[in-house]
Amino acid sequence: MVIAFWTLAALTLGAAAMIIVVRNLLHAVLFLILSFIGVAGLYITLSADFVAVAQILIYAGAIAVLMIFAVMLTPRSSRNNAGNFLQLPALVLSGLIAAGAAIVAYETEWREADRGSFDTTAAQIGDALLSPFVLPFEIASVLLVAAMIGAIVLVRED
């Protein structure tokens, strides 16, 4: 359990670090996919099977493709990870945020959830989406339909 967590954490954080460092933008997207898979692994260590598989299906399957198409549409010249004048302020700001998050995480009184054995989550998620959380579910689906119609309207040749 511990080994799994530390390997997956190392994988995720390593991939995330490589995204920032690597020169080629498409390589950065590929490392992003790797970090998505790492996060899916972390979900599995938390016994959230449905969320893990949905993470792979949605993030590594669809959102990664979206990012790739977006990268393909940028001109070739701006696809390298060139240095610019904002690098130092960005480093300072992200360092501050990381430090703040680390302090908060360290000082909180975490309680271990007392679950017994592993129960399957798919049925429970389904129940939750349709009984207490039906309104956000429906609003999310309306939002998605609106996005799709908007996309079609944008690319119509009129």
Partner: protein, 412 residues
Amino acid sequence: MLSNWYDFRDLGNPVSRLIEGLEDAGVSDGWIYVITGLLGAIGILTFIGIAAVINIWIERRVIGRVQIRRGPNRVGPFGLLQPIADAIKLIQKEALQPKVADGFVFTLAPIVIFVPAILAFAVLPWGEQMVLADLNVGVLFILALGSTTTIMIFMAGYASNNKYALLGSMRVIAMLISYELPGVLALLGVVLFAGTMSLSGIVGFQDFYWSWLIFFQPLALLIFLLGSTAELNRTPADIAEAESEIVAGFHIEYSGMKFGLFYAVELVNAIAVSAVIATLFLGGWWTFGLENVIPGWILFIGKIYAVYFIFIWFRGTLPRFRIDQLMAFAWKFLLPLAIVNALLVAVEVFVWTEYDLNAGVVLPIFGVVNFALAGVLIVAFGRMIGAAYERYPKQPMMYRDIDVPLPEPAPA
């Protein structure tokens, strides 16, 4: 089922005997887990290795027969050593890599594309106790693996640094994404009907109600079959490797064993999808009680090859779609049918569980209704959206004498 360890009708029997033996010997639980996992993985990899080799032979012989010629019959008796000859040929070829290609991704793509194909076998039930990973969300897992294949194909196309490869891989990605939706919705119908997403649960459902799901879900099977033909990049949807068009696909720059890996992955993917169809719709290892005589996993392998034969049949017979016709087929034909199917199944399951009807009465009615509605929907819907071509005359006009419509002479 007898539970003697030598009862090979269910290979879980010797393995559980092994587990008991190891527990008695005091090996810790973690190590037992690892050992049984390794055994299962070795079994599956053996099957995949043998099947990939045999499938090359089967595919070429069957396509040869469809084309009224024999397939390969020179290398070995009945051409059985042909796949080995192919493998040797590919290994000894020079694996060229263009200098401007993205070296790391270029080499990585054919290796990484193998991973989802093999992972899909982990959730399939080969027998009553023979599941390597009895995931509760098995169906969703298989769909997720299918969707990651798109990234790998893009990697291969992009890394070649060749505008035709990139064009080809973009077309393929668009096609793969389009065909995921009808596939997912078709399987949604199956999951609703069986009440569980776990694959061994679905086989258990077919065992419990003593029939195969194909009798209740013909429309879902058809949609999933057609969707998978496109997902696997096989004819009639094989624009990825269309030989008679200029964009010869995302693996245009690959040669040698890297190309061999792409070729093998196509076959292993086909076997994986055939196995999924055999599990969901044809009952997996359960065959109306026949699995007490012949081991269930052998019957399962037989069903896999029966479905694979249908894929080969498609390939030998049908011409190829154009890319925009392919997308129109997915979005305008398959997707509405899949939605209607899901709706229909939801209504049926609701009626069944809410009124707590007797399964023996209700299920045959559902089967007949589903079949009838499937036929009606396909025919009516097909007429509605694709009918323009049917109205054109199929035979030329026959003239006895020449009849040339000459234009009027120009005024002087």
